[in-house]
Symmetry: C2
Subunit: 148 residues, 2 copies
């Protein structure tokens, strides 16, 4: 099994990374967040069967959970103020509740990061609970903020 050498990971919040997404043009911002969500969806597509098999301590579970968390941070960047007028699947309501929305997405990134951590630690029960919380978080956020 090929284990790449550990890379110290600074799971910085975007704020702490001092990075502004201002350089994203409005149309690029939409593509950017859609790209992140598309990749997130695939990570869940890998996690779901692992969850059904209760393979919570599988290395793939750790890897996909960690990736999901990183991608959620990127998705968050794509919701730039000036992309508000762009055609997308974002409900108008999101812009009225932007702070609450961002909090949710940030919490999702936290939950999935914790899930990666618990999975790596072999704590299957906590990993399972966090996975359920993850699915619930996807659903409730889509219900409220995504145009179906």
């Amino acid at each position: 099994m090929l284990l790449r050498k550990l890379v110290p990971v600074f799971a910085l919040s975007l704020a702490s990374a001092g990075v502004s997404a201002d350089r994203l043009k409005p149309e690029d911002a939409v593509e950017y967040r859609q790209s992140a969500f598309r990749l997130m969806s695939f990570q869940l597509g890998v996690l779901n069967p692992l969850h059904r098999r209760q393979a919570y301590d599988d290395e793939a579970f750790v890897y996909r959970a960690e990736t999901l968390s990183r991608l959620a941070e990127l998705a968050l960047e794509g919701f730039t103020e000036d992309s508000k007028g762009q055609q997308s699947r974002t409900q108008a309501r999101m812009w009225d509740e932007r702070e609450a929305f961002e909090t949710r997405l940030r919490e999702f990134a936290e939950t999935t990061a914790q899930m990666a951590e618990r999975s790596a630690a072999g704590d299957s029960r906590a990993t399972r609970d966090l996975f359920r919380q993850t699915l619930q978080s996807c659903k409730s956020c889509h219900d409220r903020y995504r145009i179906e």
Copy 2:
């Protein structure tokens, strides 16, 4: 400065994560890799001005380099065998040299992971050299395998 608690990162190669990208349908595979490349391009858009300012030990540099590495691993997943017939920007040559191509992309992921590590360690000279190597790697791979 908001520093999220450290998440242990298992920068597993995809092979070690035991995950197969077989579940990606051919058309989804193209979208998947394009999504990853799109996000990668933005990470470089953040790294470039940091490079110009020689801000190699900036936390944003670490974060973006690490993100770039992760995304390269995802991009690699999108080059599934049965997506060969799909319309995309991939040169036909890539399919003839697929092993060499995959090696290049894997090396790119390694180089950028090292860059994150050197940046985090405050080793600006090594970080700068790895960044130049990163740009060279983008260019030579695009020249050879991407339709302009």
